[in-house]
C-alpha cells in the first residue's frame, strides 16, 4: 500500500520525512524574515526531542533559536511580549500534554490580544504542538488536545498529514498575522515522500480542505494522524464494493465547510474520523454542520469513529483505543441505512 506521503510526492523531489519538511519550513522562514524566532525547551543544541529544530541554533544563533527555561506558560508568555514588539515567535510545546500549563496565556492573551485591542495589536505566534498517539508514548505524551483549541475563538488550528503540507502549512502559519496552533501528528514525523520545497503559495494555505481520494459511496472526513488510516481503509473498502472519498481537513479553524459539504452532498454518506475523544470532540461539530447543510442529501446519519471517551491509555493498550481500519470499515457498513 502506498502511504499518503508517497501519494503526495513530487516526481522531481528527494525522499524527505515530515520532520525534515517541518525543519526546512522554519529554516526557510527564518532565512527570509529576521523577525522569525524559534523558542522552547530543548530546541537549541539538542534540536528538540523530535529533532524538528535540528540545526537552527547553529545556523541562526541562539538568539534566533532559543533554549528557554522549562516553563510552558513562561515560554508562551514571553512569546506574547516578543510578538508585541514585532517579532514572529515560533514556540515549541514539546508534547501535547505539556502545553496545558500555557493554556491561560493561550486563551486569555494569545487568542484575545487582537480583539481586546481592536486590531491594534495582532499576535503572529505559531505554537507547534506535537500531538496524538500511536508512538508508544507513556502517560501525558499522546493526548489529542485539538478540541480545547477549537473551542477558543481567536486561534487558528491546523494540522498537516503529508510531507508537503508539513512544509506549506507551517510556512503559512508563520506568515499568518494571527496566532496559529500548529498540531504536528507525531506518529507521522517519520513518514516519507519524494519532495522538494515549493514556494509556500503553491500549497493551499490555512482554511482549505483537500480531497485526498475521490470516491462515490461515502465521504471519510479526517485530518492529521488519521488520514493515512482512512486512506488505508478506503483501499480495503474496495473489496467490499465501497468507493470511499477521503477529505483531509488540514485546517480545523477555519473549517472548510464548503469542500466537506460538496463532497457529502455528492456521496450522500459521511463518517468523521479522529483520535480525539468523541464527546465534545471536533467530529461532533463537523457532524452537526454536515447535517445542517446536507440533510436532504444524506442517506444515513453522519457517524463518527473517534478515540474512546477515556484518558489516553497506556502504550500497550493504545491500539484498542485508536481508530483503526476495521473500526472505520465497520462504521462504513452501518451507513447502509435501511430504516
Amino acid at each position: 500500500m502506498t502511504t499518503v506521503a508517497e501519494k503526495s510526492a513530487r516526481a522531481a523531489g528527494k525522499p524527505a520525512t515530515m520532520a525534515q519538511a517541518l525543519t526546512r519550513a522554519m529554516r526557510d522562514a527564518m532565512a527570509e524574515d529576521p523577525t522569525v524566532h524559534v523558542m522552547g525547551e530543548d530546541v537549541g543544541a539538542l534540536g528538540g526531542v523530535f529533532r524538528i529544530t535540528d540545526g537552527l541554533a547553529k545556523e541562526f544563533g541562539e538568539d534566533r533559536c532559543t533554549d528557554t527555561p522549562l516553563a510552558e506558560a513562561g515560554i508562551l508568555g514571553a512569546a506574547v511580549g516578543m510578538a508585541m514588539y514585532g517579532l514572529r515567535p515560533v514556540v515549541e510545546m514539546q508534547f501535547d500534554a505539556f502545553a496545558y500549563p500555557a493554556f491561560e496565556q493561550l486563551i486569555s492573551h494569545v487568542a484575545k490580544m487582537r480583539n481586546r485591542t481592536r486590531g491594534a495589536m495582532p499576535l503572529p505566534i505559531t505554537i507547534r504542538v506535537p500531538y496524538g498517539g500511536g508512538i508508544g508514548g507513556v502517560e501525558h505524551h499522546c493526548d489529542s488536545s485539538e478540541a480545547y483549541y477549537l473551542a477558543t475563538p481567536g486561534l487558528h488550528v491546523v494540522t498537516p498529514a503529508t510531507v508537503e503540507d508539513a512544509y506549506g502549512l507551517l510556512r503559512a502559519s508563520i506568515a499568518s498575522d494571527d496566532p496559529v496552533v500548529f498540531l504536528e501528528p507525531k506518529r507521522l514525523y517519520w513518514s516519507k515522500a519524494d519532495w522538494s520545497p515549493q514556494a509556500p503559495a503553491a500549497v493551499p494555505g490555512i482554511g482549505k480542505a483537500l480531497v485526498r481520494r475521490a470516491g462515490t459511496s461515502a465521504t471519510l472526513i479526517t485530518y492529521g494522524p488519521s488520514l493515512p488510516v482512512c486512506l488505508e481503509a478506503a483501499e480495503a473498502a474496495r473489496e467490499e464494493g465501497w468507493d470511499l472519498e477521503v477529505v483531509d481537513l488540514r485546517s480545523l479553524v477555519p473549517f472548510d465547510e464548503d469542500t466537506v459539504v460538496e463532497s457529502v452532498r455528492r456521496t450522500g454518506r459521511a463518517v468523521v474520523v479522529h483520535e480525539a475523544a468523541g464527546f465534545g470532540g471536533p467530529g461532533a461539530e463537523i457532524a452537526a454542520r454536515v447535517t445542517e447543510r446536507c440533510f436532504h442529501h444524506l442517506e444515513a446519519p453522519v457517524l463518527r469513529v473517534t478515540g474512546f471517551d477515556i484518558p489516553y491509555p497506556p502504550p500497550m493498550l493504545e491500539k484498542y483505543h485508536l481508530p483503526g481500519v476495521d473500526r472505520i470499515l465497520d462504521t462504513v457498513a452501518r451507513l447502509q441505512w435501511e430504516n
Binding site: H37, D63, T68, P69, A71, A73, G74, L76, G77, A78, A79, V80, G81, M82, A83, M84, Y85, G86, L87, P89, P101, E104, Q105, S108, H109, K112, M113, R114, N115, R116, T117, R118, G119, A120, M121, P122, P153, G154, H156, S176, D177, D178, G207, V253, P254, F255, E257, D258
Partner: protein
C-alpha cells in the same frame, strides 16, 4: 527533626566526596534591607530635587482626585467597577515617572492611574471598566500594554518584550506591575525566572497593599518579605515604603538604570496599603478593622510629601492650590468624557477576531446584521 539529627548525618560513610559545588551567585547583595527604604522624614530628604518633587506632588494630588472621580463614576453607574488605588498613588505615579518615552509599562487591572500618569487619556484608560471595549487605546502608541485582569500573566509579556527589544538593539526597559496576591501565581515565578536567566531589562514592581481582595499577606506567603523572593531567581530584591514617593522614585530609577545598562531585572516590593475596598463590589469591613485603616491614614502618601515639602519651603499654599486646581480640571474633563454615552457598533463584535474573517464569523455577522435591521424596521 533537623538535618543534623537525621540518621546518618555527619557520619563519614561517603566513599568519595561529591564534586565541588558552589552557588552561581552570591546571595548577599541580592537580599533586601530589613526595613522598607524611606526618604521622606529622614536625612536622605536633604537631597530632594525641588522641581521633581513639585511635579510628584502635583501628580499625587491629581491621582488622588482621579481615584475619587472614578469611584464617584462607579456610584453613578458610569463604570461597571473600579479598583481604587487610594493610598497607593505614590507607587502608581512613581512607576509612570521613571520611564522614558520608549519604555513600556505593563499594568495590572488596578493600575489605571499609572497609565494615566504616563500620559494616557483618562477616558481611554477607563473603557475596560466602563465596558465599551476591553482596551480603549493602542498599546503601541502609548507603550502601555493592555490592563491585565488575569493575575501576573502580563509579567512574562514584559519579559518577552524587553528581551525582544534588546535583541533588536533598542534601548527599552519594561516595567511590570503586580499585586501581592499576584506573586503567588505561577506566571510570576516563570516571568522572574525567565527575566533573570535572560538578563532582560525588566523591573518588577509588586505593590504589597496588604490584601488580595480579602486574603491578608500572612495567608499569601510565608516569605520574610516579597522582595526576598528575588534572591531565588538571582536578581536583587528591594523593599521600599510605597507611600513615600521620593523613596519610590529613587528605588525605581535605580532599577530602571540597572536594567538599561544591561544589569538585568530587579524585584521591588513597595509596602503600601489599599485604603478602600478591593472594588465597589467588596465589603472591606468583613476582613479588616478600622484601627488598621486609621493607622495607615497617618501615613498617607499625599500628606507625607506635602508635609516634607512645605517644611522645606519647596511647596507653599499657592503651589498646593495650583495642584488642586489642575486636579479639578482633570476631574471635570474625566466626568465630561465619561458622561458622554459611547457610540457602539455591534458589528465590531466580529471585526477583530481574526485578520480575515472566517466563513463562520461572516455567517454570524450576517445574522446579527439581519437582527439589527429587523430591529430598525420595527
Amino acid at each position: 527533626m533537623t538535618v543534623q539529627e537525621l540518621p546518618g548525618a555527619g557520619a563519614s560513610h561517603r566513599p568519595t566526596p561529591p564534586p565541588a559545588w558552589r552557588p552561581r551567585t552570591d546571595a548577599a547583595p541580592l537580599l533586601p534591607d530589613a526595613e522598607p527604604y524611606r526618604v521622606l522624614g529622614t536625612p536622605a530628604a536633604d537631597r530632594l530635587d525641588p522641581a521633581l518633587m513639585r511635579r510628584c506632588y502635583a501628580e499625587l494630588v491629581r491621582g488622588r482626585r482621579y481615584n475619587a472621580q472614578a469611584t464617584a463614576l462607579t456610584k453613578q453607574g458610569r463604570l461597571a467597577v473600579y479598583p481604587s488605588t487610594v493610598g497607593q498613588e505614590a507607587c502608581e505615579i512613581a512607576a509612570a515617572l521613571v520611564l522614558e518615552e520608549q519604555d513600556w509599562l505593563f499594568p495590572s487591572y488596578r493600575d489605571t492611574l499609572a497609565a494615566v500618569a504616563r500620559g494616557l487619556d483618562p477616558v481611554q484608560a477607563l473603557t475596560l471598566l466602563r465596558g465599551d471595549w476591553h482596551t480603549g487605546y493602542d498599546p503601541r502608541e502609548h507603550r502601555i500594554a493592555p490592563l491585565s485582569t488575569p493575575l501576573a500573566t502580563q509579567l512574562p509579556h514584559a519579559v518577552g518584550l524587553a528581551h525582544a527589544a534588546r535583541l533588536r538593539g533598542d534601548d527599552v526597559v519594561a516595567l511590570a506591575m503586580v499585586g501581592d496576591g499576584g506573586t503567588s501565581e505561577g506566571d510570576f515565578h516563570e516571568a522572574l525566572n525567565f527575566a533573570a536567566v535572560w538578563q532582560a531589562p525588566v523591573v518588577f514592581l509588586v505593590q504589597n497593599n496588604g490584601f488580595a481582595i480579602s486574603v491578608p499577606l500572612a495567608k499569601q506567603t510565608a516569605a520574610p518579605t516579597l522582595a526576598h523572593k528575588a534572591v531565588g531567581y538571582g536578581m536583587p530584591g528591594r523593599l521600599v515604603d510605597g507611600n513615600d514617593i521620593a523613596a519610590m522614585h529613587e528605588v525605581l530609577t535605580e532599577a530602571v538604570r540597572r536594567a538599561r545598562a544591561g544589569g538585568g531585572p530587579t524585584l521591588i516590593e513597595a509596602v503600601t496599603y489599599r485604603m478602600e475596598a478591593h472594588t465597589n463590589a467588596d465589603d472591606a469591613t468583613r476582613y479588616r478593622g478600622d484601627a488598621e485603616v486609621e493607622a495607615w491614614k497617618a501615613h498617607d502618601p499625599v500628606e507625607l510629601l506635602e508635609r516634607e515639602l512645605t517644611a522645606r519651603g519647596i511647596l507653599d499654599e499657592a503651589g498646593i492650590q495650583e495642584a488642586r486646581d489642575e486636579a479639578e480640571t482633570m476631574a471635570a474633563s474625566l466626568r465630561e468624557g465619561m458622561n458622554a454615552d459611547p457610540v457602539l457598533d455591534p458589528m465590531d463584535l466580529f471585526a477583530h477576531v481574526y485578520a480575515e474573517q472566517t466563513g463562520r464569523l461572516r455567517e454570524q455577522a450576517a445574522l446579527l446584521r439581519a437582527e439589527l435591521d429587523a430591529e430598525g424596521d420595527a
